[in-house]
């Protein structure tokens, strides 16, 4: 794995954004050649305003993506399991997920794969942990009885199939989860730990998130920042794509 440690939330976000941009440009997407970006499901679709609005306001309205290329799990589908299976098919049809970007919960979950989720799970209907329900209450006027208790989510196995996984972790409240994810063993109680067995993972975090890590770990990866920063400098653009692509090389592999 690559552990990228930045000073704060803004810097971590910026580094991650630049990395994603370079990855997309280097991939050279075009008609029929999709760069499939995987993102975890947010709030269950049952609250139609919230998740779609969130994605629209924070992402889709700022870019020129075709609506046909946006696939969001539909919690209102008549047959939920069929919806999940179809989603897996769509991923295959698009050529597989090139890069999956996600965060983790304080309980170390990735997407809605709560503690206890199978590490080889696929897209499915998942029950939500109390922590998640409490966190989501704010979208339902604080009324716990209104918060959905289940959600559709990509599975741990689904994310493991992605060619690259990037996890963003910021804040002191995520520090313990980060420790469990990278310094402890692979454990289905901390589902993010599954990525220790993925060939291509990047963890991007801020100083606060490293509070539970060994000083040794933090020093090692901070020392590698010179090398890691080559992944975001120079910043590629689609226009210069032809020239740069032939020159770029990954600095090292895991």
């Amino acid at each position: 794995m690559k552990l990228i440690i930045l000073e704060n939330y803004s810097q971590a976000s910026e580094w991650a954004a630049k990395y994603i941009r370079n990855r997309i440009v280097q991939f050279g997407p075009g008609p029929g050649r999709f760069f499939t970006l995987g993102l975890p499901t947010g709030l269950p679709r049952d609250h139609p305003e919230s998740y779609h609005s969130f994605m629209w306001n924070n992402f889709f309205k700022h870019i020129d993506i075709s609506p046909e290329n946006v696939h969001i799990l539909d919690g209102n589908a008549p047959d939920l399991q069929a919806e999940c299976d179809a989603f897996e098919e769509k991923i295959k049809a698009a050529g597989g997920i090139e890069l999956f970007v996600g965060g983790i919960g304080p309980d170390g979950h990735i997407a809605f794969n709560e503690p206890g989720s199978s590490l080889v799970s696929r897209t499915r209907v998942k029950t939500l942990a109390m922590d998640t329900i409490l966190a989501n209450a704010r979208f339902f006027d604080g009324d716990l009885s209104k918060v959905p208790t289940m959600a559709l989510t990509v599975g741990v196995g689904t994310v493991m199939d992605a060619r690259e996984v990037m996890i963003l972790i910021t804040g002191a409240h995520k520090a313990f989860a980060l420790y469990k994810a990278i310094e402890d063993g692979v454990n289905h109680m901390w589902t993010v730990s599954a990525f220790q067995q993925h060939p291509n993972t990047v963890f991007v975090c801020d100083e606060d998130a490293t509070l539970e890590l060994k000083v040794k770990t933090v020093k090692y990866f901070k020392g590698l920042m010179l090398v890691h920063n080559k992944l975001v400098e120079p910043l590629y653009s689609m226009k210069e794509m032809g020239v740069e692509r032939s020159q770029s090389k990954k600095p090292y592999s895991d």
Binding site: W56, N57, V70
Partner: protein, 409 residues
């Protein structure tokens, strides 16, 4: 980008690189328009899987809802209270010219006139949508003749009337018909005004108090019977007095029925009201302030003499008086100058100044679901302005109907 619209095939226009006035704030958002209405891009994206057909770069302009002028007596040589043979072309001329002032909807106003004038003119004013031909007509504003002699201002005394004999029937007989009438200004201290106000309100007509010597209780009673507007606050009414605030006291009255708001027109041309008075009114009741021009035929023309109904008025710079007197009669201000002057005098935000000329008049007339805002599904009547609030372009139903000539000012 291929679009795949299941709801409509009409072209979708996306105005980008602009700041739009929405939810009382200027926000960096794109404005989407389809079939003359403001479109919700999120619904378009997710439900219809659609996208824009045309993208227009607004070069960082401000986009605000079109201005609504609820008190305008004429302009460019046209007098709405003068029954001429070419009255219709006169109203068409004004509605076309005021597009350059940012006005997309207006209420042609008639001052106190003899019944024959109303009978001749009113049938020629029809409510109609705006477009390339000019601003939309929301309906007539009848200012008088049921007003106070002591506060007639520029209105001709011999045409003043009362309705104490037959109340509403008298009013109806005077005007001939109330079809296409949007606002009536009257003096509430007149006998049987309550009945009249109730009848008018029942018919969906906005009742405004003005040209009156009413005290606060009479004004409050009128509001309780349905009045919702005050015609050019401070002008043609008793001055504010600390033991009887008169009509001005409605701004802070506690006798307004729950859920209702009293609006008040202000002519912010720098002449009708001292800026300090404008500030007092604005601070006392900011949400009720409606900018109006009260423009007369001379607006847009060179200084000199023009008519205002039965009277002759003299224009000297920005001042307009009854010829030979110092009695103010209307103004030659344009709506966009009023907006700018209002902002300057009160130091308010651009959003507040713009809303006083768009959102508030729409709320007054109960049409804010389709006019006066940039909310989804509203009529796409809007303006592009620069940071100093000069109108650069006017749009009605999503089509550009006026643009600032780049070559000359």
């Amino acid at each position: 980008m291929p679009s795949n619209k299941s709801v409509s095939d009409a072209p979708i226009v996306q105005f980008t690189n602009c700041r739009i006035l929405r939810d009382h704030r200027l926000q960096r958002e794109d404005l989407w328009v389809r079939e003359g209405k403001i479109l919700n891009p999120e619904k378009l994206f997710f439900d219809e899987k659609g996208s824009a057909d045309v993208q227009l770069d607004c070069k960082d302009s401000i986009i605000a809802p079109g201005f609504i002028d609820v008190q305008i007596n004429g302009g460019f040589g046209v007098d709405f209270s003068l029954a001429t043979d070419d009255f219709k072309s006169g109203i068409d001329l004004v509605s076309q010219k005021i597009l350059s002032h940012g006005v997309t909807s207006f209420c042609p106003t008639l001052v106190t006139s003899p019944p024959s004038v109303y009978h001749q003119i009113l049938p020629q004013i029809s409510v109609r949508n705006g477009g390339a031909h000019g601003a939309g007509i929301l309906g007539a504003h009848l200012e008088g003749p049921f007003i106070s002699k002591e506060k007639k201002g520029a209105h001709p005394e011999h045409c003043l009337r009362t309705f104490e004999a037959g109340a509403f029937q008298d009013l109806l007989a005077t005007y001939g018909s109330l079809n296409g009438v949007q606002i009536v200004t009257l003096a509430p201290e007149m006998r049987r005004s309550s009945e009249v106000i109730q009848e008018l309100t029942k018919r969906g007509i906005c009742v405004s108090l003005g040209h009156s010597v009413a005290n606060l209780s009479q004004a409050e009673e009128a509001v309780q019977h349905g009045a919702t507007f005050i015609t050019h606050l401070f002008n043609a009414m008793l001055p504010f007095h600390h033991r009887d605030p008169g009509i001005v006291g409605l701004l802070t009255s506690d006798k307004i029925p729950a859920g209702r708001r009293v609006f008040y027109g202000m002519i912010s041309d720098g002449i009708h009201t001292n800026p300090a008075a404008l500030r007092i009114a604005h601070r006392a009741h900011p949400k009720g302030l409606v900018l109006v021009t009260d423009a007369i035929a001379g607006m847009g023309l060179a200084p000199g003499r023009h008519t205002l109904g039965q009277q002759v008025v003299e224009i000297d710079g920005l001042n307009t008086y009854i010829a030979g007197t110092k009695t103010l009669s209307g103004s030659v201000a344009t709506m966009d100058t009023c907006v700018r002057h209002f902002q300057e005098a009160t130091g308010c935000s651009a959003e507040t100044a713009l809303e006083a000329a768009s959102l508030h008049p729409a709320q007054l007339l109960g049409i804010e679901h389709k006019k006066g805002t940039l909310n989804y599904d509203s009529d796409a009547d809007f303006l592009m302005l620069n940071d100093s609030l000069y109108v650069q372009a006017t749009y009605i139903a999503g089509e550009e109907v006026w643009r600032q000539d780049v070559s000359g000012m």
